[in-house]
Symmetry: C2
Subunit: 347 residues, 2 copies
DNA sequence: TTGAAAGCGCTACCAT
DNA sequence: ATGGTAGCGCTTTCAA
């Protein structure tokens, strides 16, 4: 039953060559006669030889693994689609290049240190892809000190190169302009937590529009991602400024709650209120009205991050890779009255 | 900047002992004097010594990695919460026991073979946790042939031991009984694809209730998970049997579509129709009405699967672990009219 | 083009 | 309780 594992040594004996020669064939290196090469390849195939990656790793100091650090505790990062999709994109990409992915996340929200230490311990990975959120200077220092190649997903104030991000500002502009083009003026923008660079950029995009189109009764407010407080925010707006004629959600996480809150406030979407959201979840298109939203190119983000990392790993030069900012896509639904013939009925 | 990596050899030299002794300290093995042990521990700490896991792996033929095989292509397995939550539970558990998790999924739905081969290639993992769905006999054979310890999540017709599952049948009974207790009689049960054991079990649970409570106008139908065809199913029921007074969804994946379909059919939940679903998604509780549903103990499934696997890995005896069937929890919402004072208004 | 041998950093066994 | 040494399975010089 238990098949005896065959090693490079056996292959060498059978082929009547040295281990070194077999190794060269295995790694497609020059320095082996064509006849020998083919003969050895055949023998390897016949024997069903699979090189021991651990041993290869020890000898060549590469592991064939990359690490992916999601800077949030599991219960949190699973509440939306962002991280899982990114993970799958990276895993997919890695598999194609014969890499494996080691996932590392903090056990407790906020304690990212474990995640770094755990995965870096013992040289298990050749490089790292890291979600830039919450990355502290201390951790950044630690990474440099460990001399491990890494790529960030998302901007970071102290990192100029080797990162991928989406065009938050541009996407927010196109979303807001769309909402405005549908007739809305009193827009409530519910953004994520202040300290995220992505949130700042989305706010900038929103403010660009407010200024350009001269909208006086807009408002920006903040909610946590994990524990949305949407109800109060909408209520507050109504108290101070009356009913809004549009709400833009700064993240997909808020959508369900916003819709529920609107029901409570007797605000019908899209008749009384336009609604649009950053992020695109699969079910947005299945709802009625379908939610107008911004789809992030997460697949591309994963692909780009991975190939950047491979470049860093390959070139021992470690020449910094220029940042990549990827565009998002506006997905028009019906939640801003896109398919209603009647003009927007202002309150 | 680049810190020179400390090895066991340096530690040994500084401590004036042999590598073997240091190794014993490192692995908490007996055979070292207390004084020496403490002294060596201190030196290791001072030097910030981190053993090279690859080398350890090569010498001891263990890797400290376990593999998790999700038998679906990424776009699919991310469409619900099940796999991501399971993944996170396993990762969490693994981290606590100083293990890392290698994720492997098929690139193309259905082609699970890659996933197995890729992760088993080159002895990268000490054991495997595998989603039992779609696991073929050929693959099962391959696994045995590779002599790698593995644990299944979910039942499999040819596996008697070393698996964890939830009590699908029992959970379905409690869900159905709840729906019935709220007054429903004409129940449409929308189940997943026929060939899943879990679907079969849920159907059994449903049928148990149909028999016990003598309900004539029930119906069981099937939808794919990835491409739900809910609309037609509901339409068909109405054509043949008139409007149902309850719909039970066999999986969380169908919920949004069912709700939308009901809107179209002018069936108000819960006034005209009771609704309940297997699976619990976070947003079920945020909707109005809140969806009555069955929460799977995914965290416990992950914990159990992992500890089973560790047992298999540790005991070279490979003594089979008895299967574990975990109970689910009924979460009462409002979608079956739980909080309405008026009696159920039958059409 | 090829072989021989010296590691990679650790574990494991056999002496002492 | 300790040291010495032979691997683990491969890569990587350096000679030939």
């Amino acid at each position: 039953m238990k098949q005896k594992k065959i090693t490079i040594k056996e292959v060498a004996q059978i082929a009547n060559v040295s281990k070194g020669t077999v190794s060269r064939v295995l790694n497609n290196e020059a320095g082996v006669g064509d006849a020998n090469r083919e003969r050895i390849q055949k023998i390897m195939k016949d024997l069903n030889f699979e090189p021991n990656e651990i041993a290869r790793g020890l000898a060549s100091r590469r592991t064939g693994n990359i690490g992916f650090i999601i800077p949030h505790e599991a219960g949190y990062y699973l509440s939306n689609n962002y991280w899982p999709i990114l993970l799958s994109a990276i895993t997919k990409q890695a598999a194609q290049k014969e890499y494996h992915v080691l996932l590392s996340t903090p056990q407790v929200e906020g304690k990212i240190d474990d995640a770094y230490k755990r995965i870096l311990k013992g040289k298990r990975v050749d490089g790292l892809i890291i979600g830039s959120e919450l990355l502290s200077l201390k951790q950044l220092d630690f990474l440099h000190h460990q001399a491990v190649p890494f790529v960030l997903v998302g901007k970071h104030s102290h990192v100029q190169n080797n990162f991928v991000d989406i065009d938050n500002r541009g996407a927010m502009i196109s979303l807001t302009e769309h909402v405005i083009s549908m007739g809305a003026k009193k827009i409530l923008f519910i953004a994520g937590p202040r300290d995220y660079p992505s949130v700042q950029e989305r706010i900038q995009g929103f403010e660009d529009c407010v200024e350009k189109y001269q909208l006086p009764h807009t408002q920006i407010c903040h909610s946590y991602y994990d524990v949305p407080i949407v109800d109060n925010l909408i209520h507050d707006y109504i108290i101070t400024k009356g009913k809004p004629d549009a709400i833009i959600s700064g993240a997909g996480d808020f959508v369900i709650q916003i819709i529920e809150a609107c029901k409570k406030q007797k605000l019908r979407i899209p008749q009384d209120l336009h609604f649009a959201s950053f992020d695109f979840f699969k079910y947005f298109s299945m709802m009625s009205p379908a939610i107008t939203s911004i789809a992030q190119p997460l697949e591309e983000v994963g692909i780009t991050a991975f190939s950047m990392l491979i470049n860093l790993i390959k070139k021992s030069s470690q020449s910094p890779q220029p940042p990549q900012i990827l565009p998002c896509r506006l997905i028009k639904g019906e939640s801003c009255g896109e398919n209603s013939s009647e003009p927007f009925n202002k309150p």
